[in-house]
Symmetry: C2
Subunit: 202 residues, 2 copies
């Protein structure tokens, strides 16, 4: 899902607090990418961000708190959905955006680290759930518009169609550990669309 | 994917070596379920299995070696694909089998632990890839038979249809962290089938 790979440029301008948060989240993402969730160390994040340890502990509490805030910021800084004028183009854009995110070295490693952490950590799981539902909700309107244009059957479930576009990419990425590329993304979009046209998502 | 939740009863009868392997893999699965991959400890596995440490280190090398062998055994002991006489029933059986496996407390936790480990461990990733490709290959013939019966278009890619049935379940389970239940499984099977009937998997 499209967002900047680096947070620094995307965090909204603000005062000292906003700059502290930006530095801490940037350092959190660095650590996640390099060491994974199990290696995420509050003291090292503070040092890397140039922020006092006390501030980091007081504001974020624990590594899961850092990850939760990072995911919220990533959701916030994600671009809105595409509007190509047709459902085929919109779903392809969605699939390519997911592909871009998961194959981006920094962003992809971030997602994988949080997904791995979620197996043993409820807060990480909640952060994931929040992030992905926000992204699914952000894209569902492309399906609603397609229904309004008569491209898809009445009652097609937009969130389910968007989930169906992402699912095959993540399945290969995380479960079968097979490569994901543009062909995989195109297939995912085309197959979700075929199912939707056939009324399987109503 | 259907297999016994506990290995003990399914490991092929054999001599002392086979019994040692069964005990060690059973203990490995216990540890994975309780502590995750990061908590998998060779000495504790040996103690739990009642087997000498030296044997465990010599034969399996490291925790990843244990997980690789466990996944091979789970693949081996999985039941073959369904044969309900029609593609609709076969794909539904596949979806319900995946559902049964991922929601089984012991088996589901095992998969999640190995999936989480695969993010930072190449050997765990290879073990996953091997396990799931074996399961996908085991089920693909239900699609080939459907093509032969004229239920699906010529050239439909059986492995891709089987992947498409699993993907939405794992996506919810691992990525969006949403519940998976029979309804989700039924939808996954019906939507893959609708796409396949529409020729989106050729």
């Amino acid at each position: 899902m499209e967002q900047q790979s680096r947070l620094a440029g995307t965090v909204r301008p603000g005062g000292r607090t906003a700059r502290t948060r930006a530095a801490v989240l940037e350092a959190t993402q660095d650590e996640l990418v390099e060491c994974g969730f199990h290696g995420l160390n509050m003291d090292r994040v503070a040092a890397k961000a140039g922020v006092g340890k006390t501030t980091v502990y007081r504001r974020w509490g624990d590594p899961a708190g850092l990850v939760t805030d990072l995911m919220a910021e990533l959701a916030e800084s994600s671009a809105p959905h595409a509007d190509t004028g047709g459902i085929e183009g919109d779903l392809l854009a969605n699939a390519l955006n997911v592909l871009g995110a998961v194959t981006d070295p920094r962003l992809g490693a971030t997602f994988q680290a949080v997904i791995a952490a979620a197996t043993g950590n409820e807060a990480a799981a909640a952060a994931l759930n929040d992030f992905y539902l926000r992204r699914i909700r952000a894209w569902a309107p492309v399906v609603d518009r397609a229904v309004a244009r008569g491209e898809l059957p009445e009652g097609t479930d937009g969130m389910e169609v968007i989930r169906a576009v992402s699912a095959p990419l993540y399945y290969r990425l995380l479960v079968t550990r097979e490569p994901v590329d543009e062909k995989v993304a195109e297939h995912a979009a085309a197959r979700a669309l075929a199912g939707a046209r056939a009324g399987a998502f109503t």
